[in-house]
């Protein structure tokens, strides 16, 4: 089979990319999804707060997904479920499923939308046995919300990212006792609103600069030991506190799933752990585009949809025009800006406006976000507060860039007063 665009992943990014591809007049599209339904991780995120930007109302995760699934069905975009892509190459995809076996198809353009997975216990080096009762927070979320299991009665949560906070509330509502949420860093990686509505509402303590240094129990978790950490993030002797619990949830970061991207020789950024892309969201391998959490981990699904719509549009353009020579320049991230997406832009063939998203390295108050064209300061915006948990953006204008025809790089950085 030959397709114009094949989209790997049927979560929020894949769905929005498919809808956008179709709306941009590409007809021969296929979505490939490994699970048994479309919607991806949204289906287990049953809390509300999704869609304020996209639909101007607050939806739950499954409702947000259903809006896009409905569009995909109305636009008659074909999709395969229970189908795993096992190889991606330049203009070719190999997938496997129960009914067709192993199949290789051709695609003029490929959109990577595989999302991310959770960082597991094994990546943390916490001593102790391997008893049951240790769950990545998102896995516990799926077990409770979709499969209807109870995961534990007395719970400690390590990591204060949004999934950890949301699960603290969810477990409490289901009758479990959440003893404490511990965070290694001196600040929470989660949204303020989640700290208030998920922890403060239920008097769940949040211990910053703390980590789990021991897990007790052989068959089932029976307790953990928490210790304070110093500025070097190493435990401080004498600060150990024992907590009795039967469950430990880990909300310690998300990793973009780029095994397939690597097979297609796509260059991966060591900071985002996602592909390096240009302003068309095209990767270093021609005809392969990326969007959503496989590209960089987002905090709002609305931004995923927006980014994926761009990937769908640009992939459609690519299918129509074929590859053209693009002269991209680098967008540097400096002084407190950890990374940018995209990392490159072609000032000549870019769209009129380009949204560049980025994250900062630490919590900063009263800093400026500055944009430089080579060494010339172009824009300076004061920010009351910047936090690693909240993605930021700047917008680059083509007409502004056109005034600097010899530009060799753009730099985005924070500056103090």
């Amino acid at each position: 089979m030959k397709y114009d665009i094949v989209i790997i992943g049927g979560g929020p990014a894949g769905l929005a990319a498919a809808v956008s591809s179709k709306e941009n007049k590409t007809d021969n599209i296929l979505i490939i999804e490994r699970s048994d339904s479309l919607g991806g991780i949204l289906n287990q995120c049953i809390h509300n707060g999704f869609g304020l930007h996209t639909f101007k109302e607050e939806l739950t995760g499954p409702e947000y997904a259903a809006r896009y699934i409905q569009q995909v069905q109305e636009l008659k975009i074909p999709y395969l479920l229970n189908t795993m892509v096992i190889d991606v190459k330049f203009h070719s995809i190999t997938y496997i499923n129960k009914t067709e076996g192993m199949v290789t198809i051709e695609a003029k353009a490929i959109i990577l939308a595989m999302g991310c997975r959770e960082r597991p216990r094994g990546a943390l080096n916490i001593p102790g046995y391997r008893p049951s009762g240790i769950f990545p927070a998102g896995t516990a979320q799926r077990l409770m919300n979709i499969e209807g299991h109870k995961v534990g009665k007395k719970v400690v949560i390590l990591g204060s990212g949004d999934i950890g906070l949301i699960m603290a509330r969810r477990l409490t509502l289901e009758g479990a006792k959440v003893e404490v949420v511990a965070e290694l860093m001196p600040f929470s990686g989660g949204l303020k609103r989640n700290i208030v509505q998920c922890l403060d509402d239920f008097n769940i303590p949040l211990k910053l600069s703390h980590t789990v240094i021991d897990i007790e129990g052989k068959d089932r978790v029976t307790g953990i030991v928490l210790a304070k950490v110093g500025p070097d993030r190493r435990p401080i002797a004498g600060t150990e506190v024992h907590y009795e619990c039967d469950t430990l949830l880990l909300s310690v970061g998300l990793l973009p799933e780029n095994e397939l991207s690597r097979k297609a020789d796509v260059e991966i950024s060591p900071i985002t752990n996602g592909p390096v892309v240009d302003d068309e969201l095209q990767t270093s391998t021609e005809g392969i585009f990326a969007c959503g959490n496989v590209l960089h981990v987002h905090d709002l699904v609305d931004y995923v949809s927006e980014e994926a719509a761009l990937a769908g549009k640009e992939a459609s353009e690519y299918v129509k025009r074929g590859e053209i020579k693009r002269n991209t320049i680098k967008i540097n991230a400096e002084n407190g800006v950890r990374y940018t997406v995209p990392q490159r832009v072609d000032p000549k063939s870019m769209s009129d406006l380009l949204t560049v998203r980025f994250r900062v390295a630490n919590v900063y108050t009263g800093r400026y976000i500055c944009v430089y064209f080579d060494n010339t300061l172009i824009k300076k915006t004061k920010k009351k507060v910047l936090a690693p948990g909240e993605m930021e953006k700047v917008i680059l204008k083509k007409e502004e860039l056109a005034k600097y025809p010899t530009i060799t790089s753009i730099t985005i950085k924070t500056e103090e007063e």
Partner: protein, 131 residues
């Protein structure tokens, strides 16, 4: 009069508010620690009439999934959360279910319905008998 501590959720700044509260008249007297007006409005609402949307999931009979996710159709008084959860735990739904279907009417006397937030297909239609 009493003094209350709150974290404003109006923006990422998360100002730590100290509020002088007139318990007798259920009124905010003064707010300090905020950097803008949002803090004052938040303190007023949060101390006189705090509300929340409750989301959860309900067991399903005969569906393609074991659970259907649900929410309160609009926000409810914060103090009612656990009463609402009790009713949710006592409820069982029967497939098929469409987004927006009412699962519990007037939950915990709040005049707010619990509605489904996910579509659930009926697997009995494929010849699997349900109890």
């Amino acid at each position: 009069m009493s003094t209350k501590e709150l974290t404003c959720i109006g923006c990422p700044m998360g100002c730590q508010l100290t509020v002088d509260f007139d318990d007798k008249n259920n009124m905010v007297k003064s707010v300090t620690g905020n950097n803008c007006k949002i803090g004052e409005r938040y303190a007023q609402k949060e101390l006189t009439n705090p509300t929340r949307i409750v989301t959860s999931s309900i067991k399903v009979d005969g569906g393609d999934l074991a659970m259907v996710s649900v929410k309160t159709e609009s926000d409810i008084p914060k103090g009612k959360i656990f009463e609402i959860m009790k009713e949710i735990h006592e409820t069982k739904a029967i497939a098929p279910i469409k987004i927006g279907d009412v699962m519990i009417e007037n939950v915990a006397g709040t005049n707010v319905n619990i509605v489904a937030t996910r579509n659930i297909k009926n697997i009995a239609a494929k010849g699997i008998k349900t109890a």
